[in-house]
Amino acid sequence: MVNLTIDGKKVQIEEGKTILQAAAKCEIKIPTLCYHPVVEAYGACRVCMVEVTVRGKTDLVTACNTKVQEGLDVQTGSERVLKARRLNVEMLMARAPAAEPVQELAKALGIEKTRFEIKDPQEKCILCGLCVRACETIVGASAISFIERGTERKVMPPFGEPSEACIGCTACAYFCPTGAITYEDKYGRKVIHTELHLGPTTAIRVPIRQAVPMVPLIDTEACIHFKTGECKVCTKVCDREAINHDMQDETLEVEVGTIILASGFKPFDAKRIPAYGYGHFPNVITALEFERLVNASGPTGGKIKLADGTEPKAVGIIHCVGSRDENYNEYCSRVCCMYSLKFAHLIKEKTSADVYDFYIDMRCFGKGYEEFYHRLLHEGTKFIRGRVSDITDMAMTQREEGKLIIRVEDTLLGTVRRIPVDMVILATGLEPSIDHNQLAKIFNISCSQDTFFLERHPKLAPVSTFSDGIYLAGACQAPRDIPDTVAQAGGAAAEALALADKGTFALEPVTAEIDEDLCAGCQLCVNLCPFTAITYDKEKGISVVNDALCKGCGTCVAACPSGASHQKHFRDSQIFAEIEGIFVV
């Protein structure tokens, strides 16, 4: 602990702290411009200068990077300090007349006008170097630095050209105290990391408001630390020390009796249909994005807005995007009709926009669904039957100017139509989840032609798989809506419980066995067995099948050159008899 005096106040603070920190501790404000608590002090603006006396020697020092010493006597507002500070601020006013923090500081110091020559009245940069230091020490990119010397000094990327080292984190703009650094973004928004391209978020966030558990996470794809190894600003500000950048994914091994697979689905990637312009036109969005948009806890607070922040006047909803299409998925997504109707209803409810609904067939198959469709018809949603060919922004008439034009063959009218709208919602279909194939391999589950998991029997065993103890629930088995999923999940849970309660299940009866007398010990079968169920008994000089491991494929039986291996219930003799039997008739 070090004792010092600041403006007559006695302060005690840990060794190694700066005068600025000590002053903050006793609530004495020292103005700063080039200082930021998370960046290493630079001592360039010279606004934080204070007069210090130690061991009879008086000097002017910068408070931001001068360490405290025992017995230090600090004057933050002496005549000498104010004289230097005033002049420095006055000079900065001439350099950067448009910099607000400088103007405020000047006002506080009683400076009305600068006596020095103003070069550029629009200039904002005070050359505090916060951006350069942030880019180097926090981001670790070192994409910008100072060029030239003296009054010619500027902050620039190398050669004044966009730098490849820049990772576009906009940290420089964030740290800039005067707003001298601006950033450009096509969508007119600051995009560090976007939540489904709809709005800005930071790398640390609660994924969604309904997240379970409700704790923030670090998005390693957006976090600067995981890009450059630097930053870690969050650890500096979290005094609970709750942030751990070294956390790794853990692999847990849990022993269970039964397994229910409910790995769900992923929405069809609308970028695969280039004609719809998703990713190209900012106002073409997918159903899930729209769902976030209308969510009361979403980025716009539930307001339906275009990319430029205005309300749409016309919205098109395209059904069956990626579904019922030979080029993508032939199956029906089973849900897009109904959620599209919901969207149409919500748009009507929240805006005064015209809603166009492009469908192939209206499939309102559930309880109350058809009635909902009729309600929409009454609400004035315009239903157009036909598959949309493309979306373009090439206007052909005045009315189409600045709009997105949906081109569609209206199969009821038998003509091609052009519908200008402001926003297009793509009702994307359902596909098995990303790691679906991997799961299928791990659990040895067959997949049906549409790549969803195959149930044991579509009618008699709809939640079971061919492996005992593994059950299916939800959209991993087929496109499903919520009520169906809940029902199926209940069924799967009941099946799983029933088996778990019983505690045992029967082993495959069709295992292989090796006739000790016939086996020559060639070990051919040992290498063939995919389940390592066959081992070689050295003492006896024969191969032995482990009944518990054998799944009964019979590969070893077919390969045994001495006919020593048999498969129960599928013995050679039995199959021979079957063959013979076929030709008896």
């Binding site: 299928a440 391999k441 040895n444 067959s446 997949c447 049906s448 032609q449 549409d450 195959l454 061919f466 069709v510 063939l528 995919p530 389940f531 799944k551 009964g552 494929c553 019979g554 590969t555 039986v557 077919a558 390969a559 498969q567 599928f570 050679d572 199959i575 021979f576 079957e578 063959i579 013979e580 076929i582 030709f583």
Partner: protein, 148 residues
């Protein structure tokens, strides 16, 4: 043999998990296909011993079909690969026996591919029909008797 057309007798070894289920699906879906293939269920196409095929031909089959899961989908991980290996070797051997290789076929039919099973059956039947009956000489085989 009615209508004077030759109805080949075909034996199909179908794996329990994919092809047999696929055939089942074709049935439950009420698909119509050539009834010539007599199905013998095995747990895995890897169980199909080359002897089974030879036995089938000996017993009077005009063609033999082996059908298993698609590569990578085998219920027993890799039984279908072993079936494939054996199939290729056996084809060479059948050739030496004087059995046309068109009479022996390996197909991947998944549990979901009822339609494919239908196609395979129809196609194979037609293919063997064109070849005509298989004559195996002096082996006590039952072909001659049948044709006679």
């Amino acid at each position: 043999m009615s209508n004077g057309t030759f109805e080949p007798r075909l034996v199909g070894f179908l794996c329990n998990w994919c092809s047999y289920t696929g055939a089942d699906l074709a049935g439950t879906a009420r698909m119509i296909y050539a009834p010539n293939v007599r199905i013998i269920r095995v747990m895995c196409s890897g169980r199909v011993d080359p002897q089974f095929v030879l036995k089938a031909f000996k017993e009077g089959a005009d063609g033999v079909l082996i059908s298993g899961c698609h590569p990578g989908d085998c219920h027993y991980k890799e039984g279908n690969y072993k079936a494939l290996r054996r199939y290729k070797l056996l084809l060479k051997m059948l050739d030496q026996f004087g059995i046309e290789k068109e009479r022996f076929r390996l197909e991947w039919v998944s549990a979901a591919e009822g339609v494919k099973f239908q196609h395979v059956c129809n196609e194979f039947t037609e293919q063997v029909r064109k070849l005509g009956p298989l004559y195996l000489s002096k082996n006590g085989g039952k072909h001659e008797q049948r044709e006679a």
